[in-house]
Amino acid sequence: MELAELAEASLWIGKEMMEAGADSATVEEAMLSFVSAHGFADAGVLVLPKSVLITLNSLDGFHTKMKHIDEVSPNFERLSLMSEYAMSHKNIEFAIFQKTILETKPPFHTLSFVAVPIGCAAFGMLLGCDIYGALAVFLAAYLAFFVKSRVVKLGLSMMFVNLICAFLATLSAFIFSKAFGVQELAFAQAASTFFLIPGIQLINTFEDMLKGHYLNGSARGLRALFLSFGIVFGTTLAIVAERSLSWIF
């Protein structure tokens, strides 16, 4: 592999891993492992919140390249495959591997429309919902998850997507809970927004901070905060909107 090609390939791996939800140390490790397997043990990697950089040193000089990182869209299957490829030095040509990755469809796409609301209902049971409460959570989460899958395609900011979905989930949980005569209304409403929690951002914030990537950790923490604001604001609007429905219930 040529110097420029290798830099491009390792940057692609880094970018895809960051976008799939990896922490900074894992990305650095994978990129360095990939280039060292191709004979460039003397390399430097810099992972920033919105870009990755690599410098490859050779006898003729050095080659530095940078790639921009887009929005994080959790895909642990992709992350796992990329990490496996970069770390285990598999003897597969990079172009073939890249094509395979890009063509691999995310797992459980159809099943997730049922499994995610079931997960939310189980979370509701953990909080203290009864079976009718769990049913209300299931229906509300199903509706909000379906809407999320459509709204995301419009390319809106994730904070706004969270706001819309939290509003819809909380309000529909209220309506379904009232219709089924659920006592623990708050538990049902809290559980219906469960799937919106920015879990990766929260965990990666700590992961990056503890491993010394303070800048990336802070950026992720801020992002988690803004995504959470979206949920809180959507929930707040729904609670306010509930009052205008009091004439029905």
Binding site: F76, F108, A115, A122, F123, L126, E207, T235
Partner: protein, 148 residues
């Protein structure tokens, strides 16, 4: 219902795994981790430890087991830890905090109890979230050299 809690945690974790698109082969491991973590949390709570300490212990258990499994199976740690730890998030406390804040802001006269409740539930949520995140990530720092 307490005995069933770890089972519900498994279902919730599996549901969350699908949001994160975890590999099919890893789903069972995520379920096992969620079960273990929630069981430890429940045991600690039964012995009278506070919710914060119990979540810290449960999250540490998830992190430790995930670290060992990730080392054996050469899997990125996040893939196992994140969905397994999520069921311990204090959803109802956050919701109560929001509700009390709205009630305080929209009441005709200042109500100290509502404001106190907001800070109580909000503060408790922050502590639990911090315990959860720290418990899950602490092991990857302790076993830094042993990762992939």
């Amino acid at each position: 219902m307490d005995i069933l809690n770890p089972i519900f945690a498994v279902i919730a974790a599996i549901g969350f795994s699908m949001v994160f698109k975890v590999r099919k082969e890893q789903i069972a491991i995520v379920g096992f981790l969620a079960f273990g973590g929630f069981l430890v949390r429940d045991i600690f709570m039964r012995f009278g430890f506070g919710i914060e300490l119990s979540v810290l212990a449960g999250a540490f258990c998830v992190g430790l087991l995930a670290d060992l499994i990730a080392y054996k199976t050469k899997t990125p740690l996040q893939m196992l830890k994140v969905p397994a730890g999520i069921p311990m998030i204090p959803g109802s406390l956050v919701f109560e905090a929001i509700k009390n804040l709205i009630a305080f802001v929209s009441s005709p006269a200042p109500d100290g109890l509502k404001l106190a409740n907001f800070f109580y539930f909000g503060g408790k949520s922050v502590f639990i979230l911090a315990a959860l995140a720290f418990g899950i990530t602490a092991t990857s720092v302790i076993f830094k050299k042993r990762q992939l």
